[in-house]
């Protein structure tokens, strides 16, 4: 039986194509010793070396003499013999996109790790948990959540709460369907590093106030349905207050006369305050005449006048650093 099979194998090999010949070798019964080990055929190729036979002999493919035949030979690829090269003939233009982009994470990657037991679904999922479970190995700027594999959320029993720096619309909708929540957090690269490696930072850093461009990006995700948690600058707070006022005014059905009267009252009070200020300034000018009761002659500045003077130094106060080492 074995011999017929071997003959069959050899016949098949002879009539096989090159693609079929690249079959791994048959396992053998030779004992496992240091002289009976070999790698798969085709794993290593013998190197063709310079100076040994054929086109690689004699001048070794470099021609005769000249700059190209020397050791360390060659010129850089943009060199054109002295003529101004193309990279310098043409002007610079344009801008490049920034390299500080977010890591992309799909929902199917998180679901796999929960099933393996590497992520705890009962607690909120942070960027630190994603790194420890090796969805990615490095994260410097943040994470964006995408919606590949959103149908698999039904296999889980618990709803998820995820904290990321950005998310797409379908991802937020899919997580909300299952009863979860998406939270947007703002990280600078330094704060992210403290979040991922807390043992390297003995002092806690202050949270950061995001710039206007980042705030607009966070507001866009809020419109998609996420919850935001970040320090709000002044112009955002003022915008929100104005929005609330407009909403309240629209709700209340106010007569136009009342509005005008209220406006007129405010204008009158403002005028009165201005008048009072002017009167005060005029009075102060009249009052500022010479009062010789509180007058003091300045000290004479003659040589030898400061010997008996007691010179007092300002007290030295060292700054106190607040180290939260409790």
């Amino acid at each position: 039986m074995f011999q017929t099979l071997q003959k069959l194998r050899v016949m098949c090999f002879m009539f096989a194509t090159t693609a079929e010949r690249k079959v791994p070798p048959t396992p053998s019964n030779m004992p496992f010793t240091l002289n009976n080990l070999w790698d798969n055929p085709g794993a290593r190729k013998i190197q063709k070396r310079w100076g040994r036979s054929g086109t690689r002999g004699n001048a070794c493919g470099r021609g005769q003499r000249g700059q190209g035949a020397r050791s360390g030979a060659g010129v850089p690829p943009k060199f054109e013999g002295g003529q101004t090269p193309l990279t310098r003939r043409l002007p610079k233009w344009g801008a490049k996109p920034s390299l500080e982009i977010y890591r992309e994470v799909n929902i199917c990657q998180i679901v796999d790790r929960i099933k393996q037991g590497r992520i705890d679904a009962t607690q909120p999922i942070q960027i630190k948990d994603m790194l420890e479970s090796r969805i990615f190995s490095k994260c410097k700027y943040g994470v964006k959540l995408l919606a590949r594999g959103a149908e698999r959320l039904s296999e889980l029993n618990t709803p998820l709460t995820i904290e990321v720096s950005d998310a797409s619309k379908t991802a937020i909708e899919a997580i909300k369907k299952a009863g979860g929540e998406v939270k947007v957090v703002y990280f600078t690269p330094l704060l992210l590093r403290q979040h991922l490696f807390p043992d390297k930072y003995p002092l806690e850093l202050r949270p950061a106030l995001p710039p206007s461009r980042a705030v607009e990006a966070i507001q866009r995700t809020e419109e998609r349905g996420a919850v935001a948690d970040y320090i709000k600058p002044k112009w955002v707070i003022e915008d929100e207050i104005e929005k609330k006022k407009l909403e309240e005014m629209a709700k209340l059905e106010v007569d136009t006369l009342k509005v005008q009267l209220q406006g007129a009252e405010t204008v009158e009070t403002a005028k009165k305050e201005k008048k009072k200020k002017k009167q005060k300034q005029q009075e102060e000018k009249q009052v500022s005449t010479l009062d010789l009761t509180n007058f003091k002659y300045p000290a004479s500045r003659e040589p030898g006048c400061g010997k008996d003077k007691i010179k007092q130094r300002k007290p030295v106060v060292y700054k106190k650093l607040s180290l939260n080492l409790d």
Binding site: L5, L8, R9, C12, F15, A16, E20, V23, P24, T26, P27, S28, N29, M30, P31, F32, T33, L34, L37, W38, D39, N40, A43, S71, R118, E132, S133, R134, P198, D199, Y201, P202, P303, G304, G306, K307, K311, N324, L325, D326
Partner: protein
Amino acid sequence: MLQQCLKIFRFSFAANTPSLATPWSLRPFKTEVSVPIIRFHDAQPSGQSITLDQEIFNQPIRRDLVQRLVRYTDLYDKKVTKATLALRDAAASGAKNHPQKKTGRARQGHRQRPGRNKGIKAHGRKIRSLRIDLPRKVRLQAYKVGLTAALIEGKFTVIDTEKLNEGKTKHLVQLMKGFESFTQPLLIVTSVDPDDLFLRASRNLDSLETCTVKEFNIIKILKFKSILITKEALLQLTESLKQRKLALLGENKIVKKKYSEYPIEEYDPTKPLDLKFKVLREYLEDFEKLKQEGQLDKFIQDMPKTKKVGRINTINHH
């Protein structure tokens, strides 16, 4: 069609009996293997047995991975230590032999250039290491493949302990004769803390080698024809290989504490001081001596004083 026929024959020809010729898609053992434990002083089996982990001792046999690991461990410690002289090492100055022009001779820059008699060798040997790279997962898998192959060939025998009552080589030689493999090269694998008496007795013998679990190598697995392992060593081996796999998956990370979480010892005036540095201890001894003798105040008064330069005395008003 041809490939499908070959596949069927390959599957049907699989390991009814465990052999080294199993294909890559199958495991050699169908069930768990249990090995009997043998006593060291009798060379006879005790009634106990131990089951071997399937994820370590039942892996598909890959001869190419083992070859790669053997090459990696061979070249790990190897270096090229000899080097030829370069121009900066040559025993000649870097001066030009004669000026570039106005002599009737050819232009030359260095006395010991490569083409000349007594010149240095161009592009000669350099000091370098011969290490190569191999992925960590490949190293782990090849180690496990080597252990399964040794099991199939029947190299392993498990021992309860390696302890001896006396550290004499005579007694050890008599014990080894019971194992019938004394003439062949033999290896004994012990736990991380081996017995001192056993080491003393085994040091002078040529045909016997000992090593711990940390020094256990793929080269030693393939070199020796019979291997004795203690029960503790087997357990330590399985644990270390399991932790290696978990470390590759990213778990079992060593979490460092914050600086504030390390405990700080508060000062107890009742307890004596334990100082780390020698200089401070000498200062303490001198202090205590002077205190007992009652010459502390004198010592403080005789100490050299630093001058105080006041600001008022140095101002020049004129």
